[in-house]
Subunit: 322 residues, 2 copies
Amino acid sequence: MSLIDLSKQVALGVDIGGTNTKFGLVNHRGEILAKGSIKTDEYEKVEEFIDALYEKVSPLIKQYFSEKQFDGIGVGAPNANYFRGTIEQAPNLRWKGVVPFAELMTKKFGVPCTMTNDANAAALGEMMFGAARGMKDFIMMTLGTGVGSGIISGGKLIYGHDGFAGELGHTIVKPGGRKHWSTGSEGSLEAYASATGIAITAKKMRAEFPDSMLNDYREEDIDSKVVYECAKKGDPTAIEVFRYTGQKLGEALANFVMFSSPEAILLFGGVIKAGDFILKPTKLHMERNLLPIFRNKVKLVFSELDEADAAILGASALVWEK
Amino acid sequence: MSLIDLSKQVALGVDIGGTNTKFGLVNHRGEILAKGSIKTDEYEKVEEFIDALYEKVSPLIKQYFSEKQFDGIGVGAPNANYFRGTIEQAPNLRWKGVVPFAELMTKKFGVPCTMTNDANAAALGEMMFGAARGMKDFIMMTLGTGVGSGIISGGKLIYGHDGFAGELGHTIVKPGGRKHWSTGSEGSLEAYASATGIAITAKKMRAEFPDSMLNDYREEDIDSKVVYECAKKGDPTAIEVFRYTGQKLGEALANFVMFSSPEAILLFGGVIKAGDFILKPTKLHMERNLLPIFRNKVKLVFSELDEADAAILGASALVWEK
């Protein structure tokens, strides 16, 4: 009799973005043993994309592992449906309609393929390998160009009846507020708390305050990084941009807490590089809007996963989730 | 060998309110075999309350059942904690602090006792015996004097890490909006969509429209029932009260849908007697604020449980939930 050495069981984690697809072979300890990437938008047909991925991945599998150690494939992709294994009407991908992605992958690779959206995958990655190890109830917020989320309740991802649950970036935080550039909704969290939203806020606020350092930059150069640089130098307008953003984010988080009562909220993505400029007002306005029974209990935690690897780790965690 | 006759297995369902406590012996089919009530606020000590309850219930059990058919006790109570079996800091009860209610009940009755808040119990009741039979993902909203909620995801109640999840009535729908009479929060759903909130809206709106029928009533007589009567008679102001309430409720429901993607939202309580006056604007504003991926999928359904019995049925469902 021999014990199974978990470090020798391996999964393929695939993170599909509009431009690039990253992949990695990950073991049960969350170590990435080999990785690479291909261009997503070079392939007009999904079958060509999968063929190209297979050509890159299969030599790595053959080189490092026996086939029986290969447990399966996990995929994080925009508009991916966990229940159906499909990518559905993804606006940023060339493959239109409903793509039976998991089925095509299994046919090609000969192992099971599980998929979900990228933020859900990131939440699983944090639970298995990151800051949420040991937690059974938490919410993962990814604050980048957009705002994504993954919700873990009772140790399981919330998928909802159709596999599309956890679109917290699109919840409305200010009814009748800022119009979203892509969805058209008014006052969604993403319209304020994404890097895109922060740039919009900064452009509005600098127009009101001609003395602000933010006016030293060209319109097209204003982004959340520039706002952070100005805030660090003490520019009150830049600081106010993050305070306002944090207020909107904190108000939204309070509502999420009263929904699923998580132990922690994990924050991930470019926006959180602003550190206390955004974290302090976020915490203040979250606490202020909570019922007393929830106050001073929910941890706001920064992700512990390396940003470059988080999506791959998260996708691979899908394989071992069940 | 004999099959178990489920109609002969019985649970005690107890619904504790600030003034009255209702109880019933319920079988596995959701039939109430015997019921009764005692005054909650007559008993200064919780032990006295439990003694009084036992005196009323035990003769019924002895009369109708053998002890081996008595599966356990389920209790719905304000601020009840599922994990700890406690009632904690309930503002409307005389028993202060943290009351180990389930433990005291088990000691007295000799069977397991499970408890949760009343809206969670109602959600279980709908899943086991009501309009949500066969559903695994739905949200129950109780719209009465206050606004309560119970969330079922993947066939299970969401309790959160501390047992207090699902306080959707206290989520903020209008930041900086109407101050809540008891929690002090600003712009919560309960401040608008409860019967209390509707009366406040009606009093404000009738002051603006002197011609409204609502002005035929004394200030203290304005309640959601009066508003409904006026709306039925075609009073535009009364109709606007429900339209505005439905807008706020619909906006909130859209956010809830993007959290857990339920198959349906069940509505229960006195407020829904207003029927289409509130249902139509609720649906309109829910759909309007949803991402396209969620639109025209979520059913808005009225509860199928008799209002007088729902709380007892829900509480008894706790016994068979596990």
